[in-house]
């Protein structure tokens, strides 16, 4: 069942939230030993919550648009009184005293949190292999990675452990695992969804978004979580337009560009072939599709791997063993800090803290962080020319250059792992919206995702195109 079907059934009293939740908890108990999508399953809390929703329905109240819908949360979203680990040892034992804004919104809409999902430590990775608690496997092929960093959330949805999940996307961390697991994944416009309660990786790039099996479910969840929140000063979009209302408006007359720089070199032929099929589907639905060039887009990855680590080195400074989480004792405060961070952080996190610290250091700032910000501005200007000069409504590219790769295939070579994000990173730098829509399979029978990109606040139009693609399969 889709989330919308569940909500409709629960709201009308046809089905109890409790039976829905029990069914999904059963699926998790049965299947998650193989997949390891979850760091923690909150079965007892979920059942209590389901009973509350059933009570509300029985009392004639409407629990909301996600009534009784099980939701899996990436383990970097704060949940009051429930461990939030970021798949890192350094947060060992920490239970946030508050819920993230998105968790509050889901709760108010009647959703039921069933657990916290595995991820690359602090969202740093593209395969969910950088988890302190072991990797997540791709439900489509257990020898393959689910992508990352929201690999646990994408795998949970793909495996049927939850109809919808939330992830966070800093450089592709929702879209790439969604593509590799064959589900829908959305990176909203920066500032659409409050980051309050999201453990920060790179603050100027992070955005929370939904993962779902259908475009309509993703739309419903986005509409629920995309409310203005004064606790996040960057959450400043004036009344974001709901996407569900216009979902079926089609693409007739829209101008769609295929992004040359992200669709040719380095893209596996079977992935490129699926993109061509998607182009045909949009054209048949009345869209005007043309090739378009954003020359600076290829520099996105380089800029990203300076900016994101720089912000991460700052955001992760607070994990020092003083106030919460892991503490490894030392002979002085400084020794304690060092010992805690040495033991508590994994290799990839340490690598990025070092890169970021270096990029911000006196004498290197201009050459690295400063230069990367200039590249970022260049990319924003290039994209704005396409949107507002050439009047394109949407852009297309593959989400990931390849289908899911094998566990261990890229762990020894960070650069090859970083290349996984080449198509997804540019919109994080520009703040635009983008989503991955599953679009058939590659030569290996594994899912391929098509990325639809929209200008800032272009979600309604983006979702219309995603729906057309989904319906064309």
């Amino acid at each position: 069942m889709t989330a919308l079907e569940i909500a409709t059934a629960v709201r009308s009293g046809k089905r109890s939230a409790r039976s829905v939740v029990d069914e999904y908890l059963g699926a998790i108990a049965e299947g998650d030993d193989d997949i390891h999508a979850f760091n923690m399953v909150t079965a007892a809390e979920a059942r209590t919550r389901a009973d509350e929703i059933d009570g509300a329905v029985a009392a004639g109240q409407d629990p909301g648009p996600l009534a009784g819908v099980p939701v899996a949360l990436k383990d970097n979203l704060c949940t009051r009184g429930v461990a939030t680990t970021c798949s890192s040892r350094i947060l060992e034992g920490w239970e946030p005293p508050y819920d993230a804004h998105v968790v509050e919104q889901l709760h108010n809409a009647g959703a039921v949190v069933v657990g916290k999902t595995n991820m690359d430590e602090f969202a740093m990775g593209s395969s969910t292999e950088n988890s302190a608690f072991g990797p997540t496997r791709n439900p489509c092929d257990l020898s393959r990675v689910p992508g990352g960093s929201s690999g646990g959330s994408a795998a949970a949805v793909a495996a049927g452990f939850a109809p919808v999940a939330l992830g966070s996307d800093t450089g592709g961390s929702i879209r790439q695992p969604a593509a590799l697991c064959g589900v829908v994944g959305v990176k909203p416009t920066y500032g659409r969804v409050s980051r309050y309660g999201l453990v920060a990786f790179a603050s100027s790039l992070d955005q929370i978004g939904p993962i779902a099996t259908t475009v309509a479910d993703a739309a419903t969840v986005l509409d629920v979580i995309g409310f203005t929140d004064p606790r996040d000063q960057t959450n400043r979009l004036p009344d974001p337009k709901q996407v569900s209302d216009t979902l079926s408006d089609g693409v007739n007359g829209l101008r769609v560009g295929v992004l040359t720089e992200l669709s040719g070199n380095g893209i596996a032929p079977d992935v490129a072939a699926r993109l061509q099929v998607a182009v045909g589907a949009l054209e048949s639905a009345g869209a005007d599709v043309a090739k378009v060039s954003v020359p600076s887009a290829i520099y996105g990855l380089s800029a990203y791997y300076v900016i994101a680590p720089a912000e991460a080195s700052s955001n992760l400074a607070r994990f020092d063993g003083v106030r919460y989480g892991l503490r490894v004792d030392g002979s002085s405060t400084s020794d304690m800090n060092t010992a805690t961070r040495s033991v508590g952080f994994g290799d990839e996190v340490k690598r990025r803290i070092m890169i970021g610290t270096y990029a911000l250091s006196a004498g290197y700032y201009d050459a690295y962080y400063g230069k990367a910000q200039k590249v970022r501005t260049l990319i924003i200007n290039d994209f704005n020319r396409v949107w507002y000069g050439d009047k394109f409504d949407l852009l297309l590219s593959p989400t990931s250059p390849t289908t899911a790769f094998s566990l261990g295939a890229r762990t020894a070579d960070p650069m090859s792992m970083y290349m996984s994000d080449v198509c997804t990173v540019p919109v994080n730098l520009t703040g635009q919206a983008a989503m991955s829509v599953p679009y058939g399979v590659g030569d290996d029978g594994l899912p391929v995702g098509v990325q639809v990109m929209a200008p800032v606040q272009g979600e309604p139009v983006m979702f219309r195109a995603a729906k057309v693609l989904e319906d064309s399969l």
């Binding site: 106030r323 250091s361 006196a362």
Partner: protein, 487 residues
């Protein structure tokens, strides 16, 4: 000696060189907001440890800062009061690891501070440049337990985050001060401005006003600045003065003995009366500033600046100017003291009422300089004027007036009532004349010396009268009587 060393002002100069001390102060003032700079916890001094906290002040994962408008408004008030340009500002993260700093970075402002390029006018009229006055958050406090509170000997440390996130304005003054005394005047004036505009309570003893001193020296007449040292931990105006004098002396001694001053951060030790090195320039932190991505640039409209400018209360320098106009015969130092001691309203009313009456003004000057040094207490302007009039009329002697004034400051009321309660009634002239005559008879020898012109004996006789009358007699009347008896 290398070419570089020739550039060091004063290096190897003879000990009898005239030296100039150059001081620039960085003042941190806690802004008197209801809540913290980026969260809703109360901004209040004291309280049980870790009771004024929340996820943002603890820097918990997932927490985000939200700018406090009230703090911004106060910062603008300070900026305008210091004649600064108010501009669009950008918050920046300043990184260093310290347990009482919850995020291990401080949200401050770096290359785009909210206020720049102002000045502060000392009571002497000298203007001291203000380079910038920016917003930032305060840290918590660490208590080292065991080992007498010393960090290296402590068994363990406890951290109180009540202060973490309290809004601060850091006011960076130019290297324009030339002595410890000028530095004292600067801080006093700055504090008065902060209090006048309602930005801070200015309490150094509670740490709501903290001063770091940049001190260098150079031979008189040199234009180049010497190498400076930054002195931390001066917790009162007195220790600031001592620290500056000590540090200037230390640097002069180094230079005259042919040694270089090393750029350092130094710690003032109040008990030992000296500074010692904390860290050298090379050991200084690399703060790795970068723009705070969780906050938007702070854009302030011209309209808002104009509105705040209009709402600014009169500043100490305005008060001094008004007072100087109302009382032209009062010198600038005393006017400065009157304003500093919060006696402006009282003084303005009193000088206004006595305008043109030079004798009354002289009495007022005395009262303001000496008797009211501790503030006006319950004294009202009308009572002060009545008091001076009573002195003028000879109803009270100067000594009695002092005592009456003390009562008025303590408990208010009218000078007439206070004088009566103290038993100060004007002496009958006849009574005084007979007293003087009996004293002359009693001290015949002194009297003949007085008649021979020994002026010192005036004091002797007046003193005797005062003793006999317990200060009730008017010294001037007694002198007149003595002179008339001499014939």
């Amino acid at each position: 000696m290398s070419a570089d060393l020739h550039d060091v002002p004063g290096l190897g100069t003879p000990a009898d060189t005239e030296w100039e001390t150059v001081v620039g102060l960085e003042v941190h003032a806690e802004l008197a907001t209801a809540t913290k700079l980026f969260s809703a916890s109360p901004n209040r001094f004291g309280g049980d440890p870790n009771t004024h906290i929340d996820p943002v002040s603890l820097g918990l994962p997932g927490s985000l800062p939200v700018i406090n408008e009230e703090a911004v408004n106060l910062a603008i008030r300070v900026g305008l009061a210091l004649n600064c340009q108010v501009q669009t500002s950008v918050f920046a993260r300043k990184h260093y690891f310290y347990p009482d700093m919850p995020k291990n970075f401080q949200i401050s402002q770096y290359d785009h501070p909210i206020n720049v390029d102002g000045w502060l006018e000392l009571p002497s009229g000298k203007r001291i440049g203000i380079e910038r006055a920016h917003l930032e958050e305060d840290t918590g406090k660490t208590a080292h337990v065991g080992g007498g509170g010393r960090i290296h000997e402590a068994g363990y440390s406890l951290v109180d985050y009540n202060r973490a996130g309290v809004p601060l304005i850091e006011i960076v003054g130019g290297p324009d001060l030339r002595s410890a005394e000028e530095a004292r005047q600067y801080v006093t004036e700055l504090r008065a401005i902060l209090v006048a505009v309602g930005a801070s309570d200015g309490k150094m003893e509670e740490g709501s006003l903290r001063v770091d001193c940049n001190v260098s020296v150079r031979p008189e007449g040199t234009n180049r600045l010497g190498t400076r040292c930054e002195i931390k931990n001066v917790n009162s105006l007195r220790s600031m003065g001592r620290a500056i004098d000590y540090e200037a002396r230390r640097q002069i001694d180094l230079l005259t003995s042919g040694q270089l001053v090393e750029q350092q951060t130094r710690h003032w030790n109040e008990d030992e009366g000296r500074t010692h090195a904390l860290r050298s320039k090379e050991e200084d932190y690399d703060y790795r500033y970068f723009p705070e991505p969780d906050l938007l640039p702070l854009v302030i409209s011209d309209h808002k600046v104009a509105q705040i400018q209009n709402e600014l209360p009169p500043l100490p320098q305005d008060l001094r100017r008004n007072l100087a106009k109302a009382a032209p015969s009062v010198d600038a130092d005393l006017i400065g003291l009157i304003v500093e001691r919060g006696l402006y309203d009282l003084a303005l009313a009193a000088f206004d009422q006595t305008s043109g009456n030079l004798r009354a003004i002289k009495r007022l000057r005395n009262h303001f300089a000496h008797d009211l040094a501790g503030g006006h207490g319950s004294l009202l302007a009308k009572a002060l004027i009545d008091l001076v009039n009573m002195e003028e009329a000879g109803d009270l002697t100067a000594t009695q007036a002092k005592k009456v004034l003390a009562v008025l400051v303590e408990s208010g009321g009218s000078p007439q009532d206070a004088a009566q309660e103290l038993g100060f009634e004007a002496m009958d002239t006849g009574e005084l004349e007979s007293l003087v005559d009996s004293l002359i008879a009693e001290h015949a020898e002194e009297w003949s010396r007085f008649c021979d012109g020994d002026g010192k004996l005036t004091g002797f006789f007046v003193g005797q009268v005062m003793r006999a009358t317990q200060g009730r007699a008017d010294g001037k009347v007694v002198t007149q009587l003595l002179n008339s008896r001499r014939g």
